[in-house]
Every structure is written in structure tokens, then in C-alpha cells.
Symmetry: C2
Subunit: 158 residues, 2 copies
């Protein structure tokens, strides 16, 4: 795919697949995130989670999104991805609970690619995100719409 | 809408609107979240953000989601909402940057309501989320699909 100069829109053809990440989820981090942003009992204690179908303490779905973002930022940096930001997320689906000790990774695929009509220096990509745990179970899926620089172009300043 | 006994599926008819929240976004929190989950330069420093269309330091989009979740959890508790969890998110759109000093709030609407066929004790609601800042500008929208207990029913244990 991408050359030494990094990853451009042209490298991201429909069907292109890329895998990355190994994020170990800890009990401490689940509780810390939940206390700050999603203080529902089943994200705070095993006892409360045991009363629901979760069975045991599990991460806030938004925490899973945040962990996936961290892996994404690392991947983009590593591959010198010439990204121009994201527009939004579609079809976000929390499929299974994320538990302490889980190790998350991504298995992504480009499912749409087209040049912007209004801003020809960039292209739009839709990326299918599939977040798996260490048992290869899918815990979350979504589609992200992002913009990427085209080869040979320079992004104008604001 | 809801009586003293709380908010049930039957209280959430299509068209029902509800507003809540007043979350003050601080520079410290933007940077703390970004360092942990979205360490892109424009979420970490004014200097880097000034080089992009953001103009100045702004919050990670996922951080905005997390802040909205906190306001939601508070609202659900306050209104004794008999929620049974969320399934997913659609049409998430980050419309404007969220800056330090912004005060966020929600203006939501029920846009779908139907009883579950497989689990008659609950109903499915789609909630249109609209997150506004203190200038009444829309900063984020999405649609959340959630489950709620029906009046007169008890949720079975897992």
C-alpha cells in the first residue's frame, strides 16, 4: 500500500484491509472512565454487573470507543497517514461486553472512496471498523467517514 | 410525561422532547482526555490547533460523546428512567469544535418507539440527540437506539 512518504487517499482503495492494535483493558481504567463519564453500576462494580446480563464488571461503550481511538491515532502516526479529520460515525454497534483483561485490536476495511467535489485536494473514505477481543469475538463495529489528503496535493491552511 | 414511579417505555412517545445538562468544558479536561485517548496535536495545544481550521484547542469528538453520556446518566437517574441498555448509535456527526469554556447541554427527541417482539417486557426507542453549546450552536448530533422497560412489567434477570 503506502510508500515511504506516507498514506494518501490513493492508497485507500475500496476493499483494502488493515489490522492493528493490542490494547489491554484494565479494571482500574474501566472504573476510572466510568466514574468520570458513565457512572452506571455495572461499569463500577462486579456485584452490580452480576445482577445483569453482563455477569461482571464491563467497560462503558464510550470507553471502548475511546480505546479504539487511541489505537487509531497510534496507527495513523506509524503509517504517516495524511488525514484531514473525521466527519462522523454510522452504525455503531456494541456487540459484546468488554471485560477487564480483554485485549482489543482492530480489523478494518475501506468500504468507500471518492474524491471531494468541493475540495479536490482531498478524498472521502468510509472505513468499516471491527473491534475484536483476544478470543476473536467482535465486541464493537462502526463505520467512520474520514477525509484524507490526495497524493501531490497540499492541504490549505484554514 | 413520567409519573412518580419513574419513566417507562410508555412515557416515551414519538415526538416527546426533553432537555437537560449544563456541562462546563475545561482546558484541563480536554487535554487530560486527549493525552489518554486521542493525542492528536489540536486536542493538546493551542499552537497546533491554530494551524488548522479549528483555530484553537478543541475537544476530541469522543470526549464530547463521553461528556454527553455523563449528562445522560445524571438525567436518567433524576427521572428514574427504567432503561435496559443501549444497542448502538447512528448518524453521529461532529458539527462544530468544542472549546474550553463551552457549556454543553442536550435537546433530545423520541423519533421511534416500538414494543420488542422477542422480549415483550421492553420497548425500543430511538432518541435523536442534539448537543448544543452556550451560543445555541449545534456541536454534535446522533441517534441512539435504547431499550426501556414497559409499565407493569419486570425485567427478568439474565
Amino acid at each position: 500500500m503506502a510508500g515511504d512518504e506516507g498514506t494518501y487517499f490513493e492508497d485507500l482503495e475500496v476493499g483494502y484491509e488493515f489490522e492493528f492494535g493490542a490494547y489491554e483493558v484494565t479494571r482500574e481504567e474501566i472504573i476510572e472512565f466510568a466514574q468520570k463519564y458513565d457512572p452506571q453500576p455495572f461499569h463500577l462494580s462486579d456485584e452490580a454487573a452480576a445482577k445483569m446480563h453482563f455477569g461482571k464488571l464491563c467497560a462503558s461503550g464510550w470507553h471502548t470507543c475511546a480505546m479504539v481511538m487511541h489505537m487509531t491515532v497510534d496507527y495513523l502516526a506509524e503509517h504517516k497517514w495524511h488525514g484531514l479529520g473525521g466527519r462522523g460515525i454510522d452504525k455503531l454497534n456494541w456487540k459484546r461486553p468488554v471485560y477487564p483483561g480483554d485485549v482489543l485490536r482492530l480489523k478494518n476495511k475501506i468500504i468507500e472512496a471518492r474524491v471531494s467535489k468541493s475540495r479536490p485536494y482531498m478524498g472521502l473514505n468510509v472505513i468499516e471498523y471491527k473491534c475484536l477481543n483476544q478470543k476473536d469475538e467482535v465486541v464493537m463495529t462502526y463505520e467512520a467517514t474520514v477525509f484524507n489528503l490526495r497524493k501531490g496535493y497540499t492541504a490549505p491552511d484554514a
